[in-house]
Symmetry: C2
Subunit: 413 residues, 2 copies
């Protein structure tokens, strides 16, 4: 019997998550087993609320254009389903919605939380005797999913950080004699330093920045840090620092939340750069500037890595193909076969191995002084930012029709 498919986005968006959406919809349109692809509005909340967008109403052109569209086109959310034992109702509601709309395939596009949710939904549907195939599609700028070599979304952020670091370093270099000596770029990465680490690729360009990389994996040592800044300014005339938002002190507390410096008052992360700037002002009296890339880094489709976009597209396409082959509770993951030349393939991996696991930077990637990356890391990062950027011809993004299907159930909650 032919079934409908449901696609949902989860958690923080990336500049290529819509490439996965595009692939799922286009590949499903080719399938003889799938009637329609519905997209949950604002992620899993849309599934619970029966807020389902009928993607069959969207033109092929619109769906294709999603490959180059920032944000999450159907909406995403930060909402983690509770454990089955704690809240069976939510899972039962999902199955009820799936049943009401003849949904036989669920594609959940997210990180390790979402892998866990997809796994649980697949287990509960089995328990309730509702035939459902759950496939999780990897996505996260944090690059912290287990099993897969890399995560769609990460390569584009890496390209943004590398490009921005090179450009800002050339700027600072030109002015350093009479102006800014230290430049700090704060990047995402709360618990894993993949994004900050990737900035090492910028060192291949003149003027060899960044000189210091700060990672959540390495406890911040103020004395060593200040000595390194001083040394770099003496040697180069200036110092460029790329700092993860999640840099921690020796007590495991985020620097951005630390009380030891009075640089700011709020506890939300995103303040490592001003924290470090305050420290450098106070202790070294060196003129400095800082930038916080925040959402700009993960939404910069204009700088997205072609390799990353192809990864994002291919995992979406494979997800549908796996579903058609009868797979359940798996995620298409990227397996690296060679770094130079870059060769890779997509293989299925069981969600059990991915759910709730967080992959940090391997120790072998971090230079012995804790302020840089090794050649091994360089080999890893380099191919992920490869390929062309998207030429910005038209940034007049359209909203899409976003036609909702009629609800059949009682309102949820």
């Amino acid at each position: 019997m032919k079934k409908n498919a449901l696609y949902a986005q989860s958690g923080g968006v990336t500049s290529v998550i819509n490439a996965s959406a595009s692939a799922v919809i286009l590949e499903a349109r080719k399938s003889k087993k799938i009637v329609k692809v519905y997209a949950a509005k604002n992620g899993i909340l849309g599934a619970l609320r029966e807020d389902l967008i009928d993607t069959s109403k969207e033109s092929k052109k619109f769906i294709e254009s999603l490959q180059f569209r920032p944000g999450g086109v159907f909406g995403s959310c930060r909402y983690k389903l509770k454990d089955i034992n704690e809240n069976l109702l939510e899972y039962e509601r999902l199955i009820e919605v799936f049943e009401a709309h003849n949904i036989g395939y669920f594609f959940y596009n997210g990180g390790n939380d979402s892998a866990d949710t997809a796994l649980k939904i697949s287990q509960i549907s089995n328990k309730l005797n509702y035939p459902l195939q759950c496939i999780a599609i990897p996505k996260t700028v944090d690059n912290d999913l287990a099993v897969t070599d890399c995560c769609p979304g990460f390569g584009s952020v890496a390209k943004y950080i590398v490009t921005s670091t090179i450009e800002a370093a050339l700027d600072v270099e030109s002015m350093c004699e009479t102006s800014t000596k230290v430049f700090i770029l704060e990047v995402m990465g709360r618990h894993a330093g993949w994004i900050a680490g990737s900035s090492c690729i910028a060192q291949e360009s003149h003027p060899n920045a960044p000189h210091i990389i700060l990672l959540p994996e390495v406890n911040f040592n103020q004395v060593k840090f200040l000595a390194k800044v001083k040394q770099m300014v003496k040697k180069n005339g200036f110092c460029v620092i790329v700092a993860s938002e999640g840099v921690k002190n020796s007590k495991g507390k985020f620097l951005a939340e630390s009380d030891s410096v009075d640089a700011f008052g709020h506890s939300q992360l995103g303040g490592v750069a001003p924290y470090l700037a305050g420290l450098i002002n106070k202790k070294l009296k060196l003129k400095n500037h800082w930038a916080v890339a925040d959402y700009l880094q993960r939404s910069a489709t204009h700088l997205s890595s072609e390799v990353d976009r192809i990864h994002a597209y291919q995992v979406g396409k494979k997800a549908v193909q796996y579903a058609m082959k009868g797979f359940n509770g798996v995620m298409p993951v990227i397996k690296r076969k060679s770094s130079s030349p870059y060769k890779w393939e997509i293989v299925p991996a069981p969600l059990k191995k991915i759910a709730n696991v967080e992959k940090k930077l391997p120790a072998g990637f971090i230079a012995s002084d804790g302020f840089g990356m090794t050649n091994k890391a360089r080999q890893y990062f380099k191919p992920l930012i490869g390929g062309k950027s998207k030429e910005i011809k038209n940034t007049n993004y359209q909203a899409g029709k976003m036609e909702m299907i009629p609800k059949k159930l009682k309102a949820w909650r």
Copy 2:
């Protein structure tokens, strides 16, 4: 008699200042009156110190590639010559250096301070009977030079801000139900709101952000601001704010330096975004994120506006042509003939009209509520961000030979 030319960069660099350098050198190479173009290392300081780079040693390919190179390739500086009455020695030293190296043409690439310096040097050379032609070449991301319709460097920053605002707004829109409701992008502009104002072009794309633009020209009114944020979140589900670093309170004090909120402790500008975030946290309790673009915006050659780059190139070229025609104490400026289709030409303007004058946003560009731009402003900004972006094929920037010519004088100071 054939003479050498001296080219120097001044003040904050832009993503297209090297396009002007490229044009000056290539055009001068064609001239029969100019022997060599020297470039002052680190701006006017290099001229005072006799640190002169022989650009004739650089390949044509390298000089051409400068059109797409961030930063200031010969170095720039923040160093304003004192008034002639206060410090005649500096001016005499410059003339001494010019004489020692047979320099008959001085091209000074900068903002209104530099226009003033070029004017004074031209006057003093006249007084000292040293034959010199001084031409200032416009450059500033701040877009605050008088007479010229726009300043090379500005269009590219505007394009960066427009692109980033659209991308971040699409990101925030996707997540706003359960996550960030307010996003703040802090941009440059200490005294004039041209950069923040240009973000209005982003409103042509879905989802019509920014919803609020904060300018140095409009005193910050906390009550009105918070009401507007609340209203925008209610209406759209989220609110995107673009704020000039130079937003001031009703007493004319920079918000980023204000004591009224304890969000941070340092007095350096570049803290309006965290200030506003603190305010929104405290008064509206709305989840927010903020980004500070800082140097990324003015060094982003990968996003530079083609129109802007052509402007930068053409003012450099015209500067040499004006010198060859015998002009002195002038600046090639951009004169707009039509906005749509965009038509412009370059004409000479006397430095007297430009030196030390700061052009702010005209009142007719600012919407009546002070939080947006008028259609007149839109017509002004639109063509300046036009044309293609540069495809990033190779970011492996090289240092150049940067061969210094032998010194002939005593060390300066």
